[in-house]
Symmetry: C2
Subunit: 187 residues, 2 copies
C-alpha cells in the first residue's frame, strides 16, 4: 500500500544510494528516464541533487516544467529500468513503448511510476551555472510516498519474502546489485 512519508524522513528513501527513475511532464508531453546519479543534499526541507544529461528528452521537460518526480524502482523492474536508461524519449514515447503505468496520485505534480517502492515529488531549484557546466540539478522534495510493505515508520525493512521489492544499485551495462543484508554499525 502506498502511504505518505513525512518530509523529515524523505532523505532515507535515497540515502542508501539506489538507482532511480526521473520523470517529468510539460503540456501534453511526459517522459521517464533511469538515473544512477541522484542523492540527498539536505535533510529538512529535503533536497536532492541529480544528473540529467543535456541530451535526454527528460531534460527539456524538467527545464520547462520546473518540476520532476523521482521513483525508486525495485528488483522486479530491473529490465524496465535498463530499457528506460538506454532508449530516449527523443525517439519514442517510452511510457507507451514500455507500458509504464503512472499512479493516480492527485497530490503529485509529476508522473509517479507504478510498481516502484518509493516516490519523491520535487520542485527544481534553479542553478543554471551547474546545470550548464555539469548537467547537475538541485531540487526540493515537496511530497514523498513509499510502499508500506518495505518502508514504514521512517525505515526500510526488506523481509525475507520481499526480494523482488528490494531496491536496485546500477553498476554498468544493465548490471545491478540489489540492496542487501542489514548491517548494524552501532555496536
Amino acid at each position: 500500500m502506498r502511504v505518505p512519508v513525512e518530509l523529515s524522513k524523505a532523505y532515507r528513501l535515497l540515502n542508501h544510494g539506489p538507482t532511480v527513475l526521473i520523470s517529468a511532464e510539460f503540456g501534453v508531453q511526459r517522459n521517464v528516464m533511469a538515473c544512477a546519479w541522484a542523492m540527498p543534499v539536505d535533510f529538512e526541507p529535503p533536497k536532492v541533487a541529480l544528473v540529467i544529461d543535456r541530451n535526454t528528452f527528460t531534460r527539456g521537460l524538467v527545464e520547462d516544467a520546473g518540476r520532476l518526480a523521482i521513483s525508486v524502482p525495485c528488483v522486479a523492474q530491473a529490465r524496465l529500468v535498463t530499457l528506460l536508461g538506454t532508449h530516449s524519449g527523443h525517439e519514442q514515447d517510452k511510457l507507451s513503448a514500455y507500458d509504464v503505468q503512472v499512479l493516480e496520485e492527485p497530490a503529485a505534480h509529476s508522473p509517479l511510476v507504478a510498481g516502484c517502492v518509493a516516490w519523491l515529488d520535487c520542485v527544481v531549484i534553479r542553478r543554471p551555472e551547474i546545470e550548464q557546466a555539469h548537467d547537475l540539478f538541485l531540487a526540493e522534495v515537496t511530497a514523498a510516498w513509499a510502499n508500506s510493505k518495505v518502508f514504514s515508520n521512517g525505515r526500510w525493512h526488506f523481509g525475507s519474502g520481499d526480494d523482488k521489492l528490494r531496491t536496485l544499485h546500477h553498476v554498468a551495462g544493465g548490471h545491478y546489485f540489489a540492496t542487501g543484508a542489514e548491517v548494524d554499525g552501532q555496536h
Copy 2:
C-alpha cells in the same frame, strides 16, 4: 591486493551508491569523515559530487588543500564508519582516536584509509556558490585503486566468502545495508 583502476572505469566504484569516507590533509592536519551523499557526475574525466557540511573539520582541510580522497569502506568497517560520522575532528584527532591507518601510496595526494575496498584521489573543482548554498562540492578523480579481491577488470565481484568486504549503504543512525545480490537487468 590494491591495484590501480583505469580512470574511465573509476565511476563504477561509486555508481552503486555506497557510503564513503572523505579524507583530506593540509599542513600537519589530517581528518576523515563519513559521507553517504557522494555520487559520480561524469564518466571521463571522472568527476564526483559530494556533500561536506560546513560544520565539519574536514571541510576546512578540503578548502585549504583543494584536494580530497574518497575511500569506499566495507562491512567489516561499519562501526568505524559510524564513529567517523558521529564524531568531529574539531574535538579530537580521529585518526589516532579510532586507530585509522593510512595507506602508503606515493601517488596519492590525500590520505587513503586502509581496510577499505576502493579509493579515489580527487582535486576539487571550485564552485563557491554551491559550496556556500548547499555544502555541495565537485571534484575530479585523478587516480583510483581497488582491492582486486572484490573489484577487477572494471567490475565488482563480491563472492560468497566476501561478505565482510561488501560495500555499505547507510540509511540512518548507524544502520546500513550491505551491497547485495547481483541482478541482471538486461534480459
